[in-house]
Symmetry: C2
Subunit: 164 residues, 2 copies
Amino acid sequence: MEAQRRIDPVNCSVARALAVVGERWSLLIVREALDGARRFGEFKARLGIAGNLLSTRLNTLVAAGVLRRVPYQDPGERHRFEYELTEQGLDLRITLVALLEWGDKYLADPQGPSVIVRHQAAEGDGACEEQVRVVLECSAGHTHVPPQSIHRTPGPGARFLGSS
Amino acid sequence: MEAQRRIDPVNCSVARALAVVGERWSLLIVREALDGARRFGEFKARLGIAGNLLSTRLNTLVAAGVLRRVPYQDPGERHRFEYELTEQGLDLRITLVALLEWGDKYLADPQGPSVIVRHQAAEGDGACEEQVRVVLECSAGHTHVPPQSIHRTPGPGARFLGSS
């Protein structure tokens, strides 16, 4: 079709990322974990997800390094595991804020957003509490790069599709 | 479990957004559309996706307002449709850059990222071509808000779960 060489889309990190979290429940589980859920029953009750499906998704997220299992034991109960976000899992925060913004813009409740993400300044810096947004900036120091002013170039790991 | 009232997670825009694009193929279709794919055959060849699955996903994305169908006719061929991103679809760019960054950080090819997103400055501003990153900032003007310094508060559309 096109004469120019094209980056093999299968090798792109978007595809790799989606292979881990590109499924509705996975990112919702991460969202609930960010919001404090740790135990199987908490995820199940908050999300209204079937137990076997939740179990599969939690296992996938643990295997992928997004969640880790942490043992706990309630008095008189047997040992159980709860789930904690790893650094890799915590790093999905910006993606979730980006998705939230998109959802708020196009799909929110008529009454407005259900959730506002706010800046919680560090102790000593005083409270901020202003709304947080996702923006693009570039290494040259340009802030607020418009999303229409970006383009993709091949990186060091790029593979190319044969000309067809 | 908890005494404090909790925002109903089903009503959150993340959940609404994922109902539209929370599935691996959907965001990959958007990615290819951003990269210039328009025709059924292009999406199919680039993604290696089964035709019936692609057809379903394209229909869902059209129904959700992410893509629109545009008629075209090649010489000697019958009328067909190609797919174009709407404004709503184009607005998924930041989410895709966020996912790409996360994938690059944790899942990239050992040789490095397959794709680098670069700043293409407007005509007259000169070329920039520096790498673009996703960052958080708040309405008070704090830039580079650390993702660990954000928290969720109820918005105007929040519904609350009964205390259980």
